[in-house]
Symmetry: C2
Subunit: 219 residues, 2 copies
Amino acid sequence: MLSREQIIDTAVELLDAGGEGALTVRAMTERLATGSGAIYYHVGTRDELLDTATETVVTAALATKPGGASVTPEEEIRAVALALFDAIAEHQWLATRLTLQIIRNPIGPVTVGIFERIGRQVGALGVPQAAWFDATATLVHYILGAVSQNARVDGDTSDVEAGVDREEFLGAASRAWQELDPDDYPFMHAIVDQMREHDDREQFLTGIALVLDGITNLR
Amino acid sequence: MLSREQIIDTAVELLDAGGEGALTVRAMTERLATGSGAIYYHVGTRDELLDTATETVVTAALATKPGGASVTPEEEIRAVALALFDAIAEHQWLATRLTLQIIRNPIGPVTVGIFERIGRQVGALGVPQAAWFDATATLVHYILGAVSQNARVDGDTSDVEAGVDREEFLGAASRAWQELDPDDYPFMHAIVDQMREHDDREQFLTGIALVLDGITNLR
DNA sequence: ACCTGAACACCGTTCAAGT
DNA sequence: ACCTGAACACCGTTCAAGT
C-alpha cells in the first residue's frame, strides 16, 4: 500500500535532483507506479506536497542533537544556523519554498519551530525579556536571509568537481565585477579580491557573530 | 507598435494583482491585444520576463534620491532598506523572485546595485577595509531576509481594511501561539504579547540598528 | 478506505506564414 | 523588423469506476 511517507520521500528526491520544475504529478506517478488520484488522496495538491516536503526537511534539520549541558547559547545558535545552512545546500529548492511558507503560514510548525529554537537561546544570552521578540526576529531574519541567498545552483557534480565549479564561479564573478565602471561602482572594485577568496560558510559565521554582538549589547 | 516597456508594465500589473500564477502568456496577449509570438520576440521566455520585471522594480526602488550632502551613512542605509521594504510590500511576488535572482545571477544588476549602494555606506561608517565585504554581506543578507519574510499576503483590500486584516491576522497568530503546549514552547508563550503589539516596520528598523551596532563595533 | 486512469481545462513555446 | 495564431507537448486536478 502507498504511504504518505513514501510520497514525500519521492518528492524530495525529485526536487533535489531537478528543482521545483522536476516535481510533476506525472513524474511522481511513474516513480511510484501508481495513478495520479492516489497522490491527491494521500497528500493533496502539488502545492500542499511542496509544503509538506519543506516541513519534513526543515524539521529533520532542526532535530539535530539538542546539545549537551555544557553548550553555550552562542554555540547552540551557531549549530541551528549551520544545520539550516547545510539543509539548503543539500536541498536548494528550499530557498524560495521556505520564504513562501513563512509568508503564507507564519503560525505553522516550520516558523514556530525555528523561532522557539533560536528564541530560547536569546533568552539564555541574558537579553532583557522586553527585547526578546525583536532580538529573535532579527536573528531569524538574518539566518534565513543568509542561507537562502547562499544557496548555489551547481548541478549534480561530485565533491571534487564542486570545488572546481566554485573557483570557476568566483573567477567569473570577480571578472564581471572588474569590468564594471570604476566610477559607478567604486565599492565593488574595492572588494573584488575579498570576494574571490571568501568562504560562504565562514562569512555566514562572521555575520552571526556580528548580529550576536549587537544582541548582547542589549543587556 | 508593441514596446518592451509596455510588456514589462503589463507583467508587473498582473503580478501585483494576482501573484506569480496570474502571469500567463495568454493573460498577457489578451491585455496587450497581441499574439504570443510578439511577447517572445520582445522579452523572451516567461521566466526571462519575470527576471526583467524584478530588475525593473528593484532598480526603481533603489533610484530613490541619493540623499543630500548632510545625510549620515546610517540614514542612507535605512533609506535604502525601507525602499526595499516598501517595494516588497507593494509587489509581494518579489519576495521569492528576488531570492531566485540573487542565487541564479549573483553578478547581475540587481545584486550588484544593492551591494554597491549599501557597501559605500559601510565604508563611510569607518569600518576597516578588510571587513568591508563581510560587513556588507551581513547587512544585505539581513535586509533582504527581513523584507522577504515580512511580505504579507493580504489580497487587494483598501488601506482601512488592511488595518483590520492586520489586527485579525495578529489575533489569529497570537491565539495559535497560546494554544501551543507551554512545556514544548515556553519561548513562544513568553513573547505572545510582544508579537501581538509589534509593528513590522519598526521591528525592521530595530533590527537594522542592531546589525549596524555590531558593524560599527568592527572599528 | 484506497486506488485507477481517462478526461478536462489550461499551460509555455515554437514556427511557418504574413506584413 | 515585427507580429499572428494554430499547433504541440506538457501541465495539475477531478471523478466515475473499480477493489
